[in-house]
Subunit: 134 residues, 2 copies
DNA sequence: CAGTATCCTTGCGGATACTG
DNA sequence: CAGTATCCGCAAGGATACTG
């Protein structure tokens, strides 16, 4: 993909994003930056179907509140399916929807690139902060 | 790319992201969800090098404060280069760094997918909100 | 077990006015 | 022209306690 091809493809995507009055598409993109969304999508991608508490145990540091909240957001955007078994004690399982699996696929290039370039970001920040301190 | 391949590739990326103690990599990913970062990266990708005011004019609705702030963040992460001509009146130009161009390339699949599936998200939300209202 | 409810801090995004 | 300074409302994220 050469430079012109990059430009051409970003043009269409960005015009559509700009025309997004209510911010829906951009809100979907925030899942990429949210504190727990990324990990949950990944976890469900790997494990298929998991219970609420099981996700909580595997996600280091997440609180019940944020876990529930994040799952609700993902469910609302149609990325995650929620199965309530209506039992006592409660049993609820979560899994990726087809949309969620697709999102996982399309986020991987970005994730991978960010991870590979982490050192570059870190160095740039240190340089920037050092310049600011003058 | 089959299901197993998806899993394998997301595994490595997500483990690296999870190990990110100070949240640097995740902070870089928030550029994807920030209100103006996306449009600025796109704009500079298309136009090459632009002055501050020129970006402001082309980005509908952005205030000076948010424009400056967003540019600073992008600069700090090494995605955008800032050229101060040290003139009176002031003249400052911005352009994508090599890192910035790479990010543009790697975000395009995600952007495109989100735009193409916007209807799916919208329908899912409407259904979800309707269920909640019961 | 799978959540709510309450309170708190932080940062995003914006409005407005001012400056070298 | 390219910013700063100061104000504000809102939502993200978290700590803690409680509930069916």
């Amino acid at each position: 993909m050469d430079n012109d091809e990059i430009i051409r493809r970003s043009q269409a995507a960005c015009e559509a994003l700009s025309a997004d009055e209510d911010g829906l598409k951009r809100q979907v993109l925030t899942h990429a930056g949210n504190r727990w969304s990324l990990g949950i999508v990944h976890l469900l991608g790997v494990n298929g179907r998991l219970r609420h508490a099981e996700i909580g145990r595997r996600m280091e540091g997440v609180t019940q509140r944020m876990l529930t909240r994040t799952l609700r957001q993902l469910e609302r955007d149609g990325l995650v399916l929620r199965h309530d078994f209506q039992e006592v004690p409660p049993k609820v399982e979560y899994q990726l929807s087809e949309l969620g699996k697709q999102m996982l696929v399309h986020m991987i290039p970005l994730w991978t690139w960010v991870v590979e370039n982490a050192d570059g970001f870190r160095r740039s920040r240190e340089q920037f902060d050092a310049d600011q301190a003058l």
